[in-house]
């Protein structure tokens, strides 16, 4: 029974991890290529979720909803890039932080203006709902398995994109040397818009996918944003591989910590107090993980040493 529980929790951790990866991948790409700290990434996640909820409500199709989420987030991303972000590439990190924080305010309250203060409805489609039985007799929600699958597929796709395509070469060149790729005749501002929109689309996809099993509401992006930052910092900024490893670490730490730390404390503490202490420690666990990684490797696991 305990083994089954552990396997199930590990699956949960992986599922959480791959969703964090979708967020973190865009964030790390944008930082790696453009050197931009984008706090508004969480807002694009929210845009994706709201677009999906709205389209699903209007058409009843989950697939259309996902497409809408990708499109809406990519469009919002491209728009913001052209209107605001473009002016920030040369600015200090601090200015970027303030500007993208301002964007969060505008996105969040703007969304509330349009959709109202109450959460929206978005559900898992019937063909993906319910549990399936895995080998070993674990009943596990089909939808979550699908999420893991999509996450891994996106990770592979991104790997293919950066390692094997022309765009990928440009992206990697952009990370190393902006003047160089400009000199090679690549339209750098178009490349930046493209990368930003790609990152935004991934965030929007994550928002829509997660929105189906969570609450689609204003402000849903910020907690995920903070965790996504934790992920890319653990992995090393600019590294897609690092983002993937970081996401898995954070997903597993958060999930397993939340379940097993209270149980651990119960071994030598009174039950109620153990639950409390364990839970407090669990909620800090991700941050403890991050600080340990950074103290050990100040540029993250796969980061380039400064």
């Amino acid at each position: 029974m305990l083994t089954l529980l552990i396997i199930e929790q590990v699956l949960n951790g992986l599922q959480f991890g791959v969703m964090l990866f979708l967020m973190a991948a865009g964030l790390t790409l944008i930082f790696g290529v453009m050197g931009l700290i984008n706090l508004a990434h969480g807002s694009l996640y929210m845009v994706g979720a709201f677009a999906a909820a709205w389209v699903a409500g209007a058409t009843g199709s989950f697939l259309l909803a996902l497409i809408a989420a990708l499109a809406a987030a990519a469009a919002a991303g491209a728009l913001v890039e052209v209107l605001v972000i473009r002016r920030l590439y040369k600015a200090a990190h601090l200015d970027q932080v303030l500007a993208t924080f301002a964007l969060i305010l505008i996105f969040s309250e703007g969304t509330r203006w349009i959709f109202g203060s109450f959460p929206l409805f978005l559900d898992v489609p019937s063909y993906l709902s319910g549990p399936i039985t895995l080998p070993g007799g674990i009943a596990y929600p089909l939808y979550r398995l699908v999420l893991i699958g999509i996450g891994i597929a996106v990770a592979l796709g991104l790997w293919w994109l950066t390692a094997r395509t022309r765009l990928g070469i440009q992206i990697r060149a952009g990370e190393n040397d902006r003047e160089m790729i400009a000199a090679l005749g690549v339209d750098i501002s178009r490349l930046y818009t493209l990368v930003f929109a790609l990152g935004a689309a991934l965030a929007g996809l994550a928002g829509a996918l997660v929105g189906a099993i969570q609450s689609v509401q204003v402000g849903m992006g910020e907690p995920v944003l903070i965790l996504a930052f934790v992920v890319i910092v653990i992995g090393g900024i600019g590294s897609i591989r690092g983002a993937f490893v970081g996401a898995m670490l954070v997903g597993l730490t958060d999930t397993l910590g939340g379940v097993f730390l209270p149980e651990l404390f119960k071994l030598f503490m009174e039950s109620g107090a153990a639950t409390q202490t364990g839970s407090s420690l669990a909620s800090m666990s991700v941050y403890i993980l991050m600080s340990i990684v950074l103290i050990w490797r100040p540029s993250g696991l796969f980061g380039v040493r400064a």
């Binding site: 029974m1 089954l4 529980l5 199930e8 929790q9 949960n12 951790g13 599922q15 959480f16 969040s108 309250e109 509330r112 109202g116 203060s117 109450f118 959460p119 929206l120 409805f121 559900d123 898992v124 709902s129 319910g130 549990p131 009943a139 929600p141 939808y143 979550r144 997660v210 189906a212 099993i213 969570q214 609450s215 689609v216 509401q217 204003v218 402000g219 849903m220 907690p223 999930t255 397993l256 939340g258 379940v259 209270p262 039950s271 109620g272 639950t275 409390q276 839970s279 407090s280 669990a282 909620s283």
Partner: protein, 391 residues
């Protein structure tokens, strides 16, 4: 600037007319002019928790408007769900607006930050929602009235309902913060069965896969959870998809009108406890539900009913006494001589309601998810802290 308003914000035109009518009537009858009373409402109108504050405000303003009184001035401010902003606004209400009565706070932590200080300064505070235990027990105050409930009430009712439903082994869960601890304590206070496991989740957590796996492994025969706002939506959707089919019980917060539509089918059939529902059979309630829908184009929520009742309590006191005579005004509030949407309404010794709490079930009416009362979970229930209150 404060939005100084005597009217609901949504339907300014309509209420303008009402005020004109009311003034005209007053002139004709030449009624003796009562002293103006100023009410400060601090509530959450922006950010994630805005839905609750908007409902309280709308319910409150609806009652003020229906009363036709133009001698009650309401100053509304947004606390952004931040305690320090709430304190600042309370200072403003007291120092600058010089209000007589405060109301509106949704969240317990904000109430704890504001209420003790404003009541100490001689102002009245009428709580339309938050009812933290310290304010019901040792920290109670003669100028503090709670029109909604003491925080533990709905949880106690859930425990009591679980007994009648024949559950004997519950898995219980709440976020790791004081209201969460209170919730599980409240449930355990009334529940006579075993507790299979007691889990505290992270505040603001959105994924409950891990907890659901624990539920599956726990061997419990029922699940009790207190996860307000988006947390509850997430949990219910994920629980419905998990294949675990233990019956779920919760307090009304996760099944209220505002968020029920976002939960959807996942909530159908779940039993939850509430002191109010739109099908409570009395004329005040029927009129409230109808007029709220007419005014705002949506079904009223629990919070709206609390806002509405709070305003009516206030109006009843204004009618009976002058606010400058604090003693008389307090007695008038204590008498609670108003028509509540809940039927009969009375305060206990600690100025918290003594009321019936219902078990209700989530149903679908046409396209709209809503609740139906299926029985009484607790009757004429007070709270566990009244004994500690020395007024």
């Amino acid at each position: 600037m404060a939005s100084k308003t005597r009217l609901g914000c949504q339907n300014r035109e309509k209420t303008m007319k009402n005020v004109l009518l009311a003034t005209a009537a007053a002139a004709v009858m030449a009624a003796p002019a009562l002293a103006d009373i100023k009410v400060g409402m601090i509530t959450t109108l922006s950010g994630g928790g805005a839905g609750l504050g908007v409902d309280v405000r709308d319910g409150f303003m609806l009652a003020i408007q229906q009363s036709g009184r133009d001698d009650i001035e309401v100053v509304i401010e947004d606390d952004q769900r931040k305690p320090d902003i709430a304190v600042q606004l309370a200072d403003k209400m007291v120092q600058s607006e010089k209000v007589d009565v405060l109301t509106g706070i949704i969240w317990s932590n904000l109430a704890m930050a504001v209420v003790p200080s404003v009541t100490a300064q001689g102002k009245f505070y009428l709580s339309p929602n938050a009812g933290p235990s310290p304010l019901a027990g040792k920290g109670c105050h003669e100028n503090y009235f709670n029109v909604a409930w003491q925080n533990d009430n709905l949880h106690e009712a859930a425990g009591s309902y679980a007994n009648t439903a024949g559950y004997s082994n519950s898995f219980i869960m709440a976020p790791n913060y004081p209201a969460g601890t209170d919730a599980l304590t409240g449930y355990k206070r009334m529940f006579e069965g075993e507790v299979a496991n007691e889990v505290y989740t992270k505040l603001g957590q959105t994924d409950y896969a891990a907890e659901i796996a624990q539920i599956r492994a726990s061997g419990a025969d029922s699940v009790y959870f207190f996860l307000p706002g988006g947390m509850g939506i997430s949990f219910l959707k994920q629980y419905a998809g998990s294949g675990v089919d233990l019956p779920v019980v919760g307090p009304a917060f996760s099944f209220d009108q505002g968020i029920l539509q976002a939960v959807g089918d996942a909530a159908l059939g779940v039993v939850n406890t509430s002191q109010w529902n739109k099908d409570i059979d009395n004329p005040t309630n029927a009129a409230f539900v109808e007029s709220f829908q007419a005014a705002y184009g949506r079904l009223p929520s629990l919070y709206a009913s609390q806002g509405f009742d709070t305003a009516n309590l206030l109006i009843s006191a204004v009618e009976a006494a002058d606010v400058s005579d604090a003693g008389a005004f307090r007695d008038a509030l204590r008498a609670a001589d108003f028509d509540s949407t809940r039927g009969d309404f009375a305060f206990g010794s600690n100025h918290h309601p003594v009321q019936t709490i219902y078990a209700r079930e989530v149903i679908k009416e046409g396209d709209v998810f809503t609740n139906k009362i299926i029985g009484k979970a607790l009757e004429n229930h007070s709270d566990a802290y009244a004994g500690e209150c020395k007024m």
